[in-house]
Amino acid sequence: MMPDLGKYAVPVLGSYGATLAILAVLIGVSVWRHARVKRALTEAEARRARAENGGK
């Protein structure tokens, strides 16, 4: 199944490895930051709503 890359195995596999690593970091950081900010905003809005209702 694996194609025979011959003497070019290092540059080809290196390219795929480096690309997948950069994309994984980019996607991972974007999703993690999105979730973290969403949680922080939900908490802040809940605090704000409690303060507006006189702490109830």
Binding site: M1, M2, P3, D4, L5, G6, K7, Y8, A9, P11, V12, G14, S15, Y16, A18, T19, I22, L23, V25, L26, I27, V29, S30, V31, R33, H34, V37, K38, A40, L41, A44, E45, R47, R48, A51
Partner: protein, 242 residues
């Protein structure tokens, strides 16, 4: 309905929430199909051997590195002319994605260049303009971080984006008018005679579609994050005052 409706942060976030569940899985599927097709089911090139498989990463990432800057230019101009905050935030959100694509293009280009040209790097017009584009991305991201007032940061980064567009254009067209480097001409052209063979071209088109969809998904996700961050900053500022 006008496109300017999406300048409303609430409307933009609602639309992004509807589009993302479709675009994100589609980008993953398209990339998976394109890369598997290109890596496992295409032959070696008669000149370049197996290194031709790098084309499925190098060309789409280089294309999107330039297009991302183009998108940032448009949204920066919208900010400067119409002062819509969402457009400035979309430009900010796109910069790290463009930087990642530029890094992929530079790394895969070096790995491809070594066996084909006998060197990892040359001060070739296209390579050099791409390196400068990467530095512009870094400068753009650093400028957003460095300026505390968000509107001033958006103004300054918009101007930087306009200046950097010269290098984005140069990295796209350098091979056409500066014919003295190692880098070959454009791999994709409307002129059929200049195009790569169909056996490489079709999986390459699928990979390009995958990279475009990935870019759209990440820009939507990151812009919504920036909108929420702005809202969070407003709430926290109010809490400090009260």
């Amino acid at each position: 309905m006008s496109i300017w409706e999406y300048a409303n942060p609430k409307k933009f976030s609602e639309t992004a929430a509807r589009i993302l569940p479709v675009v994100a899985p589609l980008s993953a599927l398209t990339l998976l199909v394109g890369l598997i097709w290109g890596f496992f089911f295409t032959p070696d090139d008669y000149k370049q051997g197996a290194t031709v498989k790098i084309i499925y990463l190098h060309v789409p990432s280089a294309m999107m590195a330039i297009n991302a800057w183009g998108m940032m230019l448009v949204t920066s101009l919208v900010w400067l002319i119409r002062r819509h905050h969402v457009s400035a935030l979309a430009a900010r959100a796109a910069a790290p994605i463009g930087l990642a694509f530029t890094l992929i293009a530079l790394v895969t280009g070096a790995l491809w260049g070594q066996p084909m040209w006998g060197t990892w790097w040359a001060w070739d017009p296209r390579l050099t303009s791409f390196l400068i584009l990467a530095l512009f991305y870094l400068g753009y991201i650093a400028l957003w971080q460095a300026v505390e007032n968000p509107d001033t940061a958006a103004d300054l980064t918009s101007v930087l984006c306009i200046v950097g567009s010269v290098f984005a254009l140069l990295s796209r067209y350098a091979v056409n008018f500066w014919n003295q480097g190692l880098h070959q001409g454009a791999s994709l052209s409307l002129d059929k005679e200049e195009n790569v063979s169909d056996v490489f071209w079709l999986p390459l088109l699928v990979c390009i579609a995958g990279f475009i969809l990935l870019f759209v998904s990440l820009v939507l996700l990151r812009t919504v994050t920036e909108i929420r961050l702005r809202r969070l900053a407003v709430i926290e500022a109010r809490e400090r005052v009260e």
